[in-house]
Symmetry: C2
Subunit: 250 residues, 2 copies
DNA sequence: TAAGCTGTGTGGTCAGACCACAAGAGTCTG
DNA sequence: CAGACTCTTGTGGTCTGACCACACAGCTTA
């Protein structure tokens, strides 16, 4: 009964320890799969399962071939993992869409208020708006730029955690946002309103008024989702009663 | 050049589609690994890599043996995956501890303000405080209960996304919180203060005053981390310049 | 009837074999 | 000598087949 941990968890823990102790840093290569397998005394398939987890979590990037860009490299890109996690949780009804939207409201209003207090450089955000306003875009393209705009505000705030979380929240309900666009009475009218609201958000931030920045963001997000009638939860769902031990996770 | 996607991504996408289309719901069993392998035309090892990802993300639970509790079962427990993701991102310096704390502030103050407005049942939270005050606890045990208390508030708000995110944020800096405790001049003094602040938070919520609830939570969280001088970022870190394509994630 | 045993199907793991790929070393050619 | 070419090497990606430990279901046995 030794070996309480699965073999792949041994690999994951070994890599996590190397990260915490500074033996592995972003940009470094992981040892090859065969070498890790031999070092840790586990099969190569177990090593691969651990690396797969790290890849989905946005911690490593893998590439075949030879040379300095090949192999598994530590990258620490939080966005990808957050998006995958939240999208799948929404798919499995672990997350309700309404909760996602509410969380967006909390985070984005906080970001806007923070930016209004610090007056950062928002040229990147503004140029995104220029692109959106330059020509008529189909809903999919428009919403993609819209997402980029919101993300750019989070990045301007300098908080990587909030930025990554927002990216994940957004991508998890991307399908709902796009599907909702097709139910609108007038896409051109809605998109015009969204663009006005975007400008209003920037104006409020640049005027240094946290309260009005917060309000502008709130109305912008809440307005779109109210207008598109997104599902609060799967209608055919029975009350969730899934109670079980959480996986020991990494 | 067909087969743009890796084999394990094919499996992941298939399962995600089944979830979205309602063919798989929480509580259901996944087909066996060998069956999935045959159905999708990929090797069993690729199926296992996909399932491993789902397990770490908190979407499935696997068990050996036979019978209704064995196999891979959809569970949709967001907490575990969020914790693993954030802990590893912190380990890889993708997330700065200061950003984690700031995000906690944003989310938890919002939760407190929300609770103050809705007057929910907080007996679970209160009984946790009773336990914490019943006897002198070592820092580790105390902080574990402290985390549970904060989580219970998020759960009382009913927002699963915020609750899961808070759990992940908290666990990602658990080590820092515990390490910080040992640097305190007087643990008993600090813990007494923390307990007072916990009661103050509950009182503010129950009095229905969002602003003071928000303030109480803010001071509580910010105070502890200011007192423990947690690292803002690894000191030996060069400016991060890791730019790379994000893994296509699931 | 009740206790024990065995069959069967599950995930967990390993070993080995290929493949495609990309860089670098070495070779050939002008 | 410089450039283009070829081959070697090492990487991750995948598949196959083989075990193991485990847990339940049903049968066998006392």
């Amino acid at each position: 009964m030794t070996d309480e941990r699965r073999a792949w968890q041994v690999v994951l823990e070994s890599i996590e320890r190397d990260l915490l102790d500074g033996r592995l840093r972003p940009g470094d290569h992981l040892p090859g799969e065969r070498a890790l397998s031999a070092d840790l005394g586990v099969g190569r398939s177990s090593v691969r399962e651990a690396i797969r987890v790290l890849e989905v979590l946005g911690l490593v990037r893998t590439a075949t071939g030879s040379g300095p860009t090949s192999g598994a490299i530590i990258v620490a890109l939080p966005g990808g993992g957050m998006s995958a996690l939240m999208r799948l949780q929404v798919a499995a009804t672990g997350f309700a869409v309404a909760d996602i939207v509410q969380t967006r409201l909390v985070l984005e209003t906080a970001v806007a208020a923070d930016l209004a207090g610090s007056r950062p450089d928002l040229t990147a955000s503004a140029s995104l708006l220029d692109v959106m306003e330059s020509r008529d875009l189909p809903p999919g393209d428009f919403l993609a730029l819209d997402a980029q705009f919101h993300l750019s505000l989070a990045e301007a705030s300098g908080n990587q955690v909030i930025a990554a979380t927002m990216a994940g929240l957004r991508s998890s309900i991307e399908n709902y946002a796009i599907a909702g666009a097709s139910t609108l009475p007038s896409w051109s009218g809605t998109s015009a309103r969204l663009m006005r609201e975007h400008r209003a958000i920037l104006t409020a931030i640049e005027s240094g008024d946290p309260a009005s920045a917060r309000g502008a963001v709130h109305d912008h997000i809440a307005g779109y989702y109210a207008e598109t009638n997104l599902p609060s939860r799967r209608p055919d769902e029975t009350p969730r009663l899934v109670a079980d031990a959480a996986p020991s996770g990494a």
